[in-house]
Symmetry: C2
Subunit: 509 residues, 2 copies
């Protein structure tokens, strides 16, 4: 049987562009993982790792035109957005290089002997070591930032872990180009190119998470696909950490006072956020609690005007388009659900943005309207109109875990008036990032970022964006009573590598 | 049907001592978890939490005589050991109180806005919040330190998480007494007693890990029991972190030069470590690679002399005794396995310590001798005699993950001579703690401690002993563009709580 062909497809026409590769067989996956495993020592030196990450950014920038052209042809995301996404990915690679240089992520803790403790404390020195080969599952909606050269790859390499990336079928050509850039950067520093493996195909993805030499996995995608891989990771003879970002509704609460103060601004802002990238962001606001009454009506009207003016767009592939059209139609058919602007198919390939409204009371208890509490990927959101605070509380209590939760407050509430602080506190259990008077789309690459949240937002307590993402690919090890000459340099008293560390309870930087 | 009775049993006689409780029904578990969940706000204040932990230590010390008496009657571990274990547990509770006071575990990171980043960075403030109710599964072999008042409980409470503890059937009376002491301490600070729930019974343990309001679990026990609960935790509609310590062989490598230098000292030290607590430590050295030849022979002779002199002991329960006797017999019956001192039954209730020897070549490839690479709980170890370094490497490559790995080196090797550093490096992938010239029994409570290791040593990358154990029960949350008045006090610019934190990339302590 011939190997299955992997084609690059233009979502603007539905036509095949070129054959990029063939799907990886089990033997191919095994080869890629073994080669990556063998390449681990080449990543041991932190200075080399940091230089590699910076070269990777340089190479991606050098290949920008080709990368953006291929990505636009495969994803229809547009060259402006893709140019920005590539810049973000390069910024991210350099940020992780800085993290590698600093070495705080090694979390060095040294305790000298203490005979007064119960039991006595011997000489103990702890730091973190890389887990091994990381399987990275690319996202459909970010061909750069959450794919081959994205945050999982960057943070894994920063930790000292080779990666084998499972390319997303929506952008195989872009994946090959990006992997080539990363491999060239590796070769530039004498690192085997196998530190960045790339495989195509659904079955290859399953093989990958089951491979005995794969030590951890990072995933960005759907609840269905992510849960299947999470389950496979947990069912292994030796289970491995599976850091998956699966899905999120990203609730937004708009207070009565906020709507009264700036209905138009909020309506317009929401339209921009929910339709950004044709609604294909994991942090798209998918459920908005807006007050009933005149101010809320004005907000909905502003939203309608703004959404109606949004140009048609092309989704990442035709399967997603079909799912979007069907998902919107199924939701719109529910009792008491209205569609002030109808989302759905536009021509043979595009879709139009829209939104639905529903009385919040319909979501306050289990029932057929629970469908509205499931993510619908694409340019649509649900505005639930509430009568009072009790309805807001009731709806929030029914939400699954989220990446983000947002509240829009009036000027006075933002200064602490009323129960605004309680509302912020009530949103905290729901999400990994809480926003006030902003929109969740746009995930900054920064040390304090947290892009994760209670299940199904993520399958672990970790983040896939920001400096602490590197923690996912490490495990601590402690050396007890180990003579100086045999210790890793990171743990020697003299601190030859100049690492920030904690010694006998005191922090040294 | 009447509820199943929970009896305290004396392992020295096999006789029932007293009925302590009845097994918890599903409804009982639900009540305990809900009450613990409702009690969360009482743990929100760090000062109150720290005071509670210190009072818990005080109360346990005040109840010391009763606790030790009950524990000795149920476990036969002896009053000296149990007094020490209780002191360790109190030290641990106070150590976590200190960690709560300091607040470094909140991992506060603040980034002020930066428009030069790609994409621009808004105001982001991250810290860690408690996960919720933690299920704690007590260990058989540490009725205090890894049970009701042990490290999982102490670290969970330190994190702000209530616990529901599943008592171990080997010490139900001790569990009740310890829980009472912890609850009295809670009440002293106005905290509902439900922050420390206690349930008995196998089925209750399964119910617990499946309960929707249980947010995480800590476990110390066998591979079989731990894996079943890990699987249940992963299979939930909303999976939860399961931090299990399941089993460990704790390999020891003795170099030719070390044996030549101090065969007797090593043999005697090994005898002490492997028979400590009647061989019922999770860090018992269970596989020792010793050189063939005269020095190794001398080491084995010293080990034999010392082990033969170890008094008989009583295991924690009769099922363990049966498993130990059968496990030793099955191993001793393998080809080429000798028993210089035969371990096994002694009278109706006790066991005698012993050890087995085998040529290391028998362990170098898959076969029936793989049984020797499985933990055998009780006072027995396996000494594998190697001919050359290649055999050492071959055996090490076949080991599952371990809590500890130890090497004994000569004085010259300890100074870095020969390939000692390579040997230490080769042990690092095998374990969470690497020891040189020591014995793995004895796990100090210290910031740099790591008590965990690759599966099956633990099911996660975390530790159950030491300051970083608190990290298991927290998740990060980031506030974006949130006005000062609405931020948790921990994240305000003025740092009113005086927390160590990282602001715009610089660490403040």
């Amino acid at each position: 049987m011939a190997a299955a062909q992997v084609w690059s497809v233009d979502p603007r026409t539905g036509k095949q562009r070129e054959q990029v590769a063939v799907e990886a067989t089990a033997a191919d996956v095994d080869r890629a993982v073994r080669a990556a495993h063998e390449a681990r020592p080449a990543l041991a030196d932190r200075a080399v790792r940091a230089a590699f990450l910076r070269s990777a950014a340089d190479r991606l920038e050098a290949a920008r035109d080709r990368l953006v052209e291929a990505a636009d042809a495969e994803t229809a995301l547009g060259t402006a957005r893709l140019t920005g996404e590539l810049a973000r990915s390069c910024f991210q690679l350099r940020a992780f290089a800085g993290i590698v240089d600093e070495g705080a992520f090694l979390d060095v803790i040294i305790d000298h002997p203490d005979d007064t403790a119960t039991p006595p404390i011997p000489d103990l020195r702890r730091y973190k070591v890389p887990l091994g080969v990381v399987a990275v599952y690319s996202a459909s909606n970010f061909p750069f930032a959450f794919s081959v050269p994205g945050g999982d790859t960057a943070s894994a390499l920063a930790a000292g872990c080779p990666v084998v990336v499972k390319a997303h079928p929506d952008h195989p050509a872009t994946s090959e180009l990006a992997a080539a850039a990363l491999r060239e950067a590796a070769a530039e520093h004498g690192i085997p190119e196998a530190v960045v493996g790339l495989v195509h195909g659904f079955d290859a993805g399953v093989e990958l998470v089951r491979h005995p030499l794969v030590a951890a996995a990072g995933f960005t995608g759907s609840v269905r696909g992510g849960r299947a891989l999470f389950d496979a990771a947990a069912a292994r003879p030796v289970p491995i950490p599976f850091h998956g970002e699966l899905g999120s509704l990203n609730p937004v609460v708009i207070t009565e006072a906020a709507a009264a103060e700036r209905a138009e601004q909020i309506g317009t802002g929401l339209a921009g956020s929910m339709t950004l990238g044709v609604g294909q962001f994991c942090v798209k606001p998918g459920l908005v609690l807006a007050p009933s009454g005149a101010a809320g009506d004005q907000l909905v009207k502003s939203l309608a005007d703004a959404v109606a003016a949004v140009p048609e767009g092309v989704l990442l592939d035709h399967r997603m388009r079909d799912n979007f059209v069907a998902g919107v139609a199924e939701r719109a058919a529910l009792p008491d659900v209205d569609a002030p602007v109808t989302a759905g198919a536009a021509g043979d390939h595009a879709v139009g943005a829209g939104f639905l409204t529903v009385p919040a009371s319909r979501l306050a208890a289990e029932g057929e309207h629970d469908l509205l509490l499931e993510e619908c990927f694409g340019p649509v959101t649900v505005v639930a109109r509430y009568e009072d605070d009790a309805e807001v509380t009731a709806v929030l209590s029914r939400l699954p875990g989220n990446l983000t939760a947002t509240v829009h407050l009036s000027t006075e509430e933002s200064r602490g008036a009323g129960d605004a602080a309680d509302l912020v506190a009530a949103l905290t259990p729901l999400a990994g990032r809480v926003l006030v008077n902003g929109w969740p789309t746009g995930v900054a690459v920064a040390p304090a970022q947290h892009h994760g949240g209670p299940y199904p937002a993520t399958t672990s307590t970790s983040t896939s964006v920001g400096g602490t993402a590197v923690e996912r690919w490490l495990r601590p090890v402690t050396y007890q009573s180990t003579p100086e000459a045999l210790l890793p340099a990171e743990l020697r008293d003299a601190n030859p590598l100049g690492l920030p560390r904690r010694v006998d309870g005191r922090r040294e930087s």
